[in-house]
Symmetry: C2
Subunit: 208 residues, 2 copies
DNA sequence: ACCTGAACACCGTTCAAGT
DNA sequence: ACCTGAACACCGTTCAAGT
């Protein structure tokens, strides 16, 4: 008994929602077919196979990440806003981002952001290789930060735990450092602080 | 017909080599058994199941990354050497590192490096939260760099290609920047330059 | 043009049976 | 203590057949 008009879009939406919530391993063709109320083979007609279904989800993700709108009065503020937006968007779909990464498309995903950054860095007076360096520095910072951050959140209880490890003795008689490294980082704040510092540093040094 | 004395170690070595070369997807229990000349079920006796076999490989990777030996005369040079060593070790086993990452063990993997960094940062005169910040900044930089870098190398031919995208017009009349962003980055050099700049910045500012 | 079930060649894992 | 083959419940994919 057929349902009416299964569409490629419908398949992508269902698959996307599944992958977003439970990761790519949770996407089985049979499971997806059951959820959609069709035969497994119907899905094949619309999307080819599992791999190209995942490719389509990745492509969609790359496009969504491309819509970047810098905000703020100064170039520095706008660069920071791009970084913060990227971080938010990346964190909203970790599994899909990991798949973009696996397929080696991260760079392409970041091209629109790069364009925006070029504009702002130019507005701040940087030119040439120096400007390129600044753009890449910000990009690396955001990607690296999100990855490390997500990792910290997902990390299983560690042995030895950080609280055990970072006591005054191991921190070489620096209790304040031990406290800082034992505590879970305030990622929201640390990210903004880091990006601001980096951007200020990159834009300030331009008269060297 | 049995082979003599299959060992857990032998299994780990064969599985590790397989995963290193072709990634975890290439590790099938049947394939591994064939390569070792045993029945599939013998492997189960030694390692439990596929998942804990992968866990063991990950555990081994974490331990290998823990052996860090700072080199150089100044604290700054030793911090840079730790960063460079980490990068090299990470790049030598990308699939295994990705698995460490997936299992949320990256932070634990970096603990020995953190310890080494704490020592050097202290030697440079930093203390407390500021020292902790410096340690984390270096760690984030290395991880982020390796990930972005690997991605660039694996990226499929892009459309539009960077050479197309970054011409004088899109680079806002900055031909030198267009050239810089269109060219593949010299990662070895860019990494060292970036880390040096970061470390200098972190250690220099200590009298604020 | 779109959908279907049957069949194929793979998986990881369990288990009772061997030595 | 260690190894085995058979069997189970899953996969993704193909294909001939339907409408």
């Amino acid at each position: 008994m057929a349902r009416e008009s299964l569409t490629r879009e419908e398949i992508l939406v269902a698959a996307g929602s599944l992958v977003r919530r439970h990761g790519p391993a949770a996407l089985t063709m049979r499971g997806l077919a059951a959820e959609l109320g069709t035969a497994v083979t119907s899905i094949y007609w619309h999307v080819g196979n599992r791999e190209s279904l995942l490719d389509a989800l990745v492509e969609r993700t790359v496009e969504e990440l491309g819509e970047i709108q810098p905000r703020g009065r100064t170039p520095a503020a706008r660069v920071v806003s791009v970084a913060r937006t990227l971080r938010r968007e990346l964190r909203a779909r970790p599994h899909l981002i990991a798949m973009v990464h696996e397929r080696g498309l991260t760079e392409r995903m970041f091209l629109p952001a790069q364009q925006a950054l070029v504009h702002e860095v130019h507005a701040a007076g940087l030119r040439g290789a120096r400007a390129a360096q600044a753009v890449r520095a910000v990009q690396f910072q955001v990607v690296g930060y999100v990855l490390v951050e997500r990792n910290r959140e997902r990390a299983p209880r560690q042995r030895p735990a950080e609280e055990e490890l970072w006591h005054t003795a191991t921190a070489e008689q620096d209790p304040s450092l031990a406290r800082a490294l034992a505590a879970p980082a305030d990622h929201e704040r640390l990210f903004t602080v880091s990006v601001r510092a980096l951007v200020d540093g990159l834009l300030r040094d331009r008269e060297e």
